[in-house]
């Protein structure tokens, strides 16, 4: 369970996240929607202990992320701004992550094979395509076989096969009683993947509920999104 309560984050005079509250329940895929600069990534970074909140709390099973003893066994995360050194080999990148949380080394090979990078494991990350880099990020998130996944734009750069794989995987992951918080710009993809959604605009939550509740009265999730966010385009 993820619980974000009255969370605010300011950078100087700029308020990035303003009094945000929502809950993500186990057994569901929850979409986190908003234009660029709406506060999605900041919220996720605070939730995962990378940034400090100005006020409020963001808890995972009732505890701050940084209080988890082996955090990667509880939460797997893919975030923009948290990735490998390009000159390091993919297998080495995953090996140090596994060692840090006492995850068996055999799991490194397992996740590389799972995301289709088994044959490219010994390549340096700088030789990876955008899609391969994204697959490596997903592999890192899955390394600890976590109960909770927090993914920021996981299908960026993936080919159609990869997108379908992520969608199917996340549905099965949630169906097994685990928790998924998924941020994405792709409304059609989100409509097919998520059970529930939280919509954020200009740092504030503007809607939350099931996908059906949010799209009610609109032709699609996309039209609902633009209606809720005031048609903001986050370039």
């Amino acid at each position: 369970m993820i619980e974000v309560s009255r969370l605010s984050k300011r950078y100087g005079a700029k308020t990035a996240v303003d009094d945000v509250s929502f809950t993500v329940r186990p057994g569901t895929v929850t979409g986190f929607l908003g234009p660029n600069g709406a506060g999605k990534s900041t919220t996720l970074r605070v939730l995962l202990g990378l940034d400090h909140p100005t006020s409020g709390t963001a808890l995972i099973d009732g505890r701050p992320y940084r209080d988890l003893s082996h955090p990667l066994r509880k939460v797997g995360a893919l975030l923009d701004g948290a990735g490998p050194v390009p000159e390091r080999r993919a297998i080495d990148h995953l090996t140090w992550i596994a060692q840090s949380n006492r995850i068996p080394r055999s799991r490194v090979r397992e996740v590389l094979d799972l995301v289709g990078l088994g044959d490219a494991a010994k390549q340096r990350v700088k030789k990876y395509s955008l899609g391969m880099g994204q697959r490596l990020g997903i592999a890192a998130a899955l390394l600890g076989d976590p109960e909770i996944l927090v993914l920021d734009e996981p299908v960026n750069g993936l080919d159609p096969d990869g997108i379908r794989w992520v969608r199917t995987f996340l549905r099965e992951f949630a169906a097994s009683g685990r928790t998924v918080l998924l941020s994405s710009h792709l409304m059609a993809e989100m409509a097919e993947t998520a059970d529930e959604a939280v919509v954020i605009a200009q740092g504030r939550i503007v809607a939350r509920g099931s996908i059906e509740e949010i799209t009610e009265g609109h032709a699609s999730l996309e039209t609902a999104f633009f209606a809720l966010t005031g048609g903001q385009v986050g370039w």
Partner: protein
Amino acid sequence: MSAVFAATRAELTKIVTLRTVWIVTGVILALHLLVSYANVGINIEAVRAITPDGMIELFADDPQPANRAIVDFLVASSFQMGLFLPGLGAVIAGQEFRTPQLGQTLLAVPRRGRLIVAKTVAATVYLLFVAVVVAGVSTAFMYAAVRDWNPGLLVSPGAWVGQGKFVAFAVLTGLISFAITVIARSTLTGVAVTVGLIAVTMTQLLAVFSPALDALFPLSAGRNLLLNPVENTLSAGPGHAMVVLVAWPLVTTVVAAFLLARRDAR
């Protein structure tokens, strides 16, 4: 403790799987081999010419007692390469900041205090390894010069103490650069500050005007610790030097830990 050990092991893996670290290490060791090779012939000739009363001229027209001069030369040859080890400390720390790796690191080890301990221990282990190799290379080349005269000199207490001081100096100054890079969040800044500290010592300008102030700089402290006061003008004694050399990494690491804990991981 097991969590700190796991984090330290992960940090060591990061260090030894980073190609830049091996390139910088290779350049330092290659340079040391080159300089040592260039000196070995001169040293062999000088040892052959040791006078019956035990005097040697490692430098022309500068006769000195052979035992002391050879140990001093041994330590000084390690010391000159030790000046490059802070660069290695900056490269090790800087990998987090020239790429988005810091975010990944904090996802894996979110407790900043635990992370800085793990990072510092891992960097210490690697710097120790390189410093010991540098000392070993110095010893091997000096052995080629003294093997027919007094090979036991290289494992005498004086030689052990001298090389031990060098290793301590190399690791401690490497950690200073490591911590400054974490504070500045930039490899380039870490290297630039280190070069500045080296320049203060190598130019000896401060030592001329204010020896007491010069003695507070880490590379000057290294000089004061390792070089022979009979042959060199030093700004403080070895005890003072050791305090300065320990205080610098201690203070800079505490500041680095404080800032790592306070700042967002950006």
